[in-house]
Symmetry: C2
Subunit: 118 residues, 2 copies
């Protein structure tokens, strides 16, 4: 079965022009999802869902990844049994130049502020 492509397990993604700013902001307004995006940005590549150590069950984790995908923030693809996740940096930067960087910088700044106590 070397030829059986992973075609039957395709995941629906919004096209670049279907991505809405409100949706992106909604996706990032959840602390867990913001954390996921920060880790993806820090890694720069693709990470499987199980690489994240989130304080919720697997079901909830799946839910959050789906929200991120359906809002156009990440791209997901199966690779064997794993599901790889990557930021849609290019598409987002085409649509909203500089926004993702600003958001990540803001998140980093807040994290530093909180870490330094508050």
């Amino acid at each position: 079965m070397t030829s059986t492509a992973v075609t039957s397990r395709e995941l629906p993604h919004p096209a670049r022009d279907e991505i809405r700013l409100e949706g992106v902001l909604h996706a990032l307004s959840d602390p867990l999802r913001l954390q996921i995006v920060r880790e993806l940005a820090a890694d720069g590549g693709e990470l499987s869902c199980s690489r994240f150590d989130l304080p919720v069950t697997k079901s909830t984790t799946t839910h959050h990844f789906r929200v991120l995908r359906e809002c156009g923030v990440i791209r997901q693809a199966y690779r064997g049994t794993a599901k790889m996740n990557g930021l849609r940096e290019g598409d987002l930067d085409d649509l909203f130049p500089g926004l993702l960087d600003s958001l990540l910088a803001a998140a980093a700044r807040q994290a530093a502020r909180i870490a330094a106590d508050g």
Copy 2:
């Protein structure tokens, strides 16, 4: 209850350091609130609630303004019978430098894209 009212017309605002990024993003993830913020930014000054022509009732309008205030996005103050609303640009820029501008630019870009249809 005429005299005991402790200046019941004061409005609670979060202190600058209490403003959370997630809250700001949540506030702006609603199309109506994003529109309000865009108009406030375009005006640059203060606007009364009634200056906005939103497709919802007064009650709902009040609700959205309150969300924006409680999340630290706008500052509200009474002036006679009117309630004036102004962006907290300074506080937001202290906390998250450049973020507000990026968000407004992204919103403007999306509005232009939608206006040009697709």
